[in-house]
Symmetry: C2
Amino acid sequence: MAKGLRIAFQGERGAYSEEAALALFGEEIELVPQRTFDAVFAAVQEGHCDHGVVPIENSLAGSIHRNYDLLLQYDLYIVGEHNLRISHCLIAHPGVGLGEIRRVYSHPQALAQCEHSLRELEGVQVVATIDTAGSVKMIKEQGLRDAAAIASERAARLYGMEILRRDFEDERTNYTRFIALGRKPVTPEGEAKTSLAFAGRNEPGLLFRCLSAFALRNIDLTKIESRPLKGVPWEYIFYLDFAGSLSEERCRRAVEQLKEMANFVRVFGSYPRAPAAWVEAES
Amino acid sequence: MAKGLRIAFQGERGAYSEEAALALFGEEIELVPQRTFDAVFAAVQEGHCDHGVVPIENSLAGSIHRNYDLLLQYDLYIVGEHNLRISHCLIAHPGVGLGEIRRVYSHPQALAQCEHSLRELEGVQVVATIDTAGSVKMIKEQGLRDAAAIASERAARLYGMEILRRDFEDERTNYTRFIALGRKPVTPEGEAKTSLAFAGRNEPGLLFRCLSAFALRNIDLTKIESRPLKGVPWEYIFYLDFAGSLSEERCRRAVEQLKEMANFVRVFGSYPRAPAAWVEAES
C-alpha cells in the first residue's frame, strides 16, 4: 500500500499487532507504538497517525470488548481486517538453556494461553507484564540471563534473542482477528464484510425481527454476539458482521430496515474480507 | 439446600467460585477445591462430587469458551446459575502499609481487570499465579510482608489477612455468571432459563431460521453468540440461552424445531433463573 503511512498499534516493536499492521498496510509503513488501545484510537482520530490496528477477537478468548467499547466511543471506521495465527515462542538470551530459566515474563493473556506448557517448567516464577514483545526487550536490556519471555518469533528476531521453544501455546488453533481503523470509510472491491453494533430493549422476537433484515435479502452473517448493556438492565447490545458492502443496494436496504427495528444502530464500516487464519492453520 | 452436598469448584478456598457455590447450595455444603475446570467436570461426572460450580461468562471478558467446550465434552447438565459481582481487594499481612508493597500476585484475569489501579502503584512488580485466593494463601504461608494479592474480601477474611484497598478493579460493572453442574437435569419451578448449543453450515438465513423456532413462540432470548467451529472452516457453533423451561410444551416444541434446522443441537438443561448482578450493582 501507500508509502510512509503512519500506523498506530498497541505495544512495543515486535508485538503481534505490528505483524498485523505490516500484513494490512505493507512493509513501507512507519510503525507508531502506543501504550494503550485508547491511545491508538486517539492517535488516529486526532490525525497523528493515518491508521490504527487493534485486535478485535481471539479464537480462544473471544471478543475483545474493550475495543468494541472504543469503536462506539470514537468516530472512526473499520477499513480492513487481518486474521493472524498466534504462535507463541519462549525467548531468552542466546546461549541460555531451558534449565537456567527461573522467571518467565509476558502479557497475562499470553501467559494464560501457555498455562499447561508453563506448568511443565519446574521451579519457574511467572511474571505478568504489559505486553509480549516488551518483555523480550526488557530481559534483553536488563541482561536477565535467568529469564525468558513469551512473544512472537518476530520479537525474538527484532531484539536479537534466541527461541528456546516454538508453538509454546496450549492450543494450536489460536488466532486473533485484527481490524484497521481510519478516519474515513472505504469502498471495498471484491469480497467485502461490514461490521455494526445495534441495541434494543429485550423482548421476544427483537433479534429475530432485526435479523430478518439480512435473511430476507440472503445476506450471510459471519458474527453475532449479544452483550448486556452496562447499567441498563435487560437491554442488550449486539455485535454483528455480515458478508457484503454498503456500496451494494441490498446491504444498504438491510441496514435501513435494521434502523427501523432497533433503538440504536452504529455502522463501523465496510472493508475487504480477509481469508480465515484457521483455514491455513488446519490445511 | 440439602446438607452435606459435596460441591467441586476450581481454585483454593476463598475463590470467587466458592462464593458462588455457597450462594447456590447454601452454607452447609462440603466444598471440594479442584486444580482445573476439567477436574471440576470430572469430579461430578465420576461421582466424587454431587455438583460442580464454574464461571461461564464475565461482563468485561465475555464468554469463558473453555467451560463451553467442557460442557460439550462431558455428559452433565446445568442445574442452576448465579451472578456474582466481582469486587477485587488488594490484600496484605496485617500492619503492612501500601508503601511497603513491592510485588502483587494474582490470576492473570484479575491482574488484567486491575490494570489501571496497578499502574498507580509505583515500583511494584506484578506476578501472575494460578488463582486469586491461592495468592493470598501463598503470601500468608511464606510470610511475604512486602507482597500483596488481589482476591475477594472472603479470601482476606479466610486467611486472616488485611484489606489495603477495596474496589481495586478498574470497572465497577464487573460481574461473573456461574453455573451449577449436575449429573441429572432438574425441573425448575418459577422463572426458568434454558441453555443450549447448536451448529450448522453457515449459509444465508441459517441463524434466522433457527431463531424463528423461538420468535414464533414468543420465547425471549437472553444470550446468543456465534463462534467459528475449530478446524471446520465456515461452520459455526452458537451458544443460546432462552427464558423458559423444557417442562413447558412451547419450549420443547421450539427445541424440536431447532433440531430440524441445525446439524447439531445439545441442550445443557433448564434451571431457575437468577437475578442479574448488575441490577443490584447499579441500583
